[in-house]
Symmetry: C2
Subunit: 462 residues, 2 copies
Amino acid sequence: MSSIQSYITSNKQRFIDELIELLKIPSISADSAYKKETIQTAEVIKTNLKKAGCDRVEICETEGFPIVYGEKIIDPKLPTVLVYGHYDVQPPDPLDLWHSPPFEPVIKNTDLHPEGAIFARGACDDKGQMYMHVKALEYMTSQGDLPCNVKFMIEGEEEVGSVNLSHFVKANREKLENNVILISDTGMIAKDVPSITTGLRGLSYVEVEVTGPNRDLHSGLYGGAVANPINVLTKMIASLHDENNHITIPGFYDKVENLSDAERAEMAKAPFSLEAYKKSLDIDAVYGEEGYTTNERNSIRPTLDVNGIWGGYTGEGAKTVIASKAYAKISMRLVPNQDWQEITQLFKTHFEKIAPAGVRVKVSPHHGGQGYVTPIDSIGYKAASKAYEKTFGKTPIPQRSGGSIPIVSLFEQELKSKTILMGFGLDSDAIHSPNEHFGIWNYLKGIETIPYFYKYFTELKQ
Amino acid sequence: MSSIQSYITSNKQRFIDELIELLKIPSISADSAYKKETIQTAEVIKTNLKKAGCDRVEICETEGFPIVYGEKIIDPKLPTVLVYGHYDVQPPDPLDLWHSPPFEPVIKNTDLHPEGAIFARGACDDKGQMYMHVKALEYMTSQGDLPCNVKFMIEGEEEVGSVNLSHFVKANREKLENNVILISDTGMIAKDVPSITTGLRGLSYVEVEVTGPNRDLHSGLYGGAVANPINVLTKMIASLHDENNHITIPGFYDKVENLSDAERAEMAKAPFSLEAYKKSLDIDAVYGEEGYTTNERNSIRPTLDVNGIWGGYTGEGAKTVIASKAYAKISMRLVPNQDWQEITQLFKTHFEKIAPAGVRVKVSPHHGGQGYVTPIDSIGYKAASKAYEKTFGKTPIPQRSGGSIPIVSLFEQELKSKTILMGFGLDSDAIHSPNEHFGIWNYLKGIETIPYFYKYFTELKQ
């Protein structure tokens, strides 16, 4: 048994307990009702980073939630790894679909996780995955096994667009100087199929408001004679996709990178069962853009999804009303070369244009970020690949993810270094959904694998 | 000054105070949280009917909210008027748009109501209009001026479909026997343009649920690859109208009564200003079925309106989620000859059929009712017309309303008598909307006019 394996065996229960404590705090950055708890989470991270051996740990205030920064510089001449993660979590609703309360973590065994999984909001995204790095650091510092310098930057606004982190990065280029950025905020193909994420989609998130009459109206007295904002909104949203599920916003696809047949053939080699996919979601068919496979649709193609819609009477029973206003939250996942700000503007212009007479439309951008693609011949990628080989006994598969970590492309732009996305979660972990969980096996495997990345990166870099 | 006018002058403040007390009770039949208050309202009505001179006042239990019944039989050989009204009210939300709390009535002067209007949920629909009949009865019994028999039937489920009232009517044909049914639950064209409602639209109210994946999903990892229930729902709803705003449900228009050009020309004579209509709603254009005027669209033509829609994340900020489910409440206003149960079935069949693979659809009918048209040569209509002439100094205009009182066509079928719809509200009273109100002038004018209906009906009938 390796030194890291025996360290994990000896400290397993404590590693789990510490994560559970962190998961109890509802650090929901999107909801201002949880401001206090979100700030409190930053304090807990600070304490834990110090205990794990970081020097110069500090809470960096921003206009929003603070960023926790820490570093361990053992020799300025050695390479530096910058670890990024986030302590904020998605809102937990719909609460009634959780089998146990989202902020009262419980360990349950599942078919995929016979060793147990921790069920709680943020278990995987990203408290669990971020905390693997803290524990890996603890091992390396306590055992005198840290081969290079390390910096930590843990933010509290990833789920709401990282606006203040981007200011922080731009203002602290020197402090954050590094040779590689390491993030665990993605997943792998399966427990026995390790993978490294080489691409992320960009994001543009907007909120739309359609206003019709100046007050809610009786649907009998006015029905049929005035534009009903909900009916209009459904028509406008429906028109954003054509019959082949292409997005109809003019200019939307202009800069989309089209993969070659060879690249698509390479992608198609990743293990995937359409039947298992449909079964796991309990759907009778997949649905998406004509001409692309499921794995292409959710990684190399841009999308437009309504994330929320509301208007009129939504309570129990019936109310015969024509609402004055209807709303929707709409996000677009973007692929490399699509500029999120340009896409947001294209959306806004188009959506305002298609509004019929009789209603007024307001489009408010929420946040966004660029997509990202990383090459597989970098030192960082090679180091990560070797680390997985060491602990999984298999070469990881490079894969494009459909998700977004908008800040990654900014890191490259501002800090001039590549990001390596070493994720240990699974698609079935239900991140952003009720009953989010993270396998204990995955959590410990992450802690075991990370120190090898430091080792190989330092070796390959020198 | 007539006897009724001087009675009103002497008792005006008490009439207003009694209505205000009634309006303070939140009798929201659609919301089970207000069950106690709704039942309490029935008790208050019972007490007030007794005080007004009714004999045999009783609370008739149903499977839902009770019906208050009362009668004053002065001579079995004289005609009998059956008064119908309802003591339940619409839900008050959205609460934030009310300028004063919906169940704390206040009197305010407005441009249209320089004599003051009572602002409260139910002020016009229908507590205020129903209570005019109680006070008119009080006048007639206290002054020995009641010319015929009267029966009262006040229900508590009009806003949720009158299902239990229809059972009650079918089971009590003899008890409810009458020569004419009198209802004040509609409006008139303007304060100086009295009108009698001769037509009501029918109603079919359904709730739909679209289910996609078995859980909420991360919109990055799954976006573009699975059917998003909200996007699908918007597409399905949008497809229910064509580019001319005709409803696309097969068979929907098959039985629609088409008015002759002469009838449409007659309708067009009613005073109406499109500019004032648009201004009062703060809209730049009206919107509706091609080929029809605004007044036709909201009276003689059937409609399909979404009354509520919801799904996904609707809180503050952003959540990148694909919801498992999306919902809508949809109502169709129907015209005479359209059978509401047949239309409900046509909707259900069509809506299920247009669901794409990848989602499941559930359509749950809420309630409904038939439309109604009453002739203008009946004794009841003539008596009402004479009553308005007496108190307004003008012959009232017959008009079709876009609203629905589903129970009216059942009355005709079960009780074999015509219903006369003498309304004293105005379109601008904001029934079903925030800031519902009822003009004190209108309230008192109703109390003044009703006794003349009894007088003329009894005279014409004999």
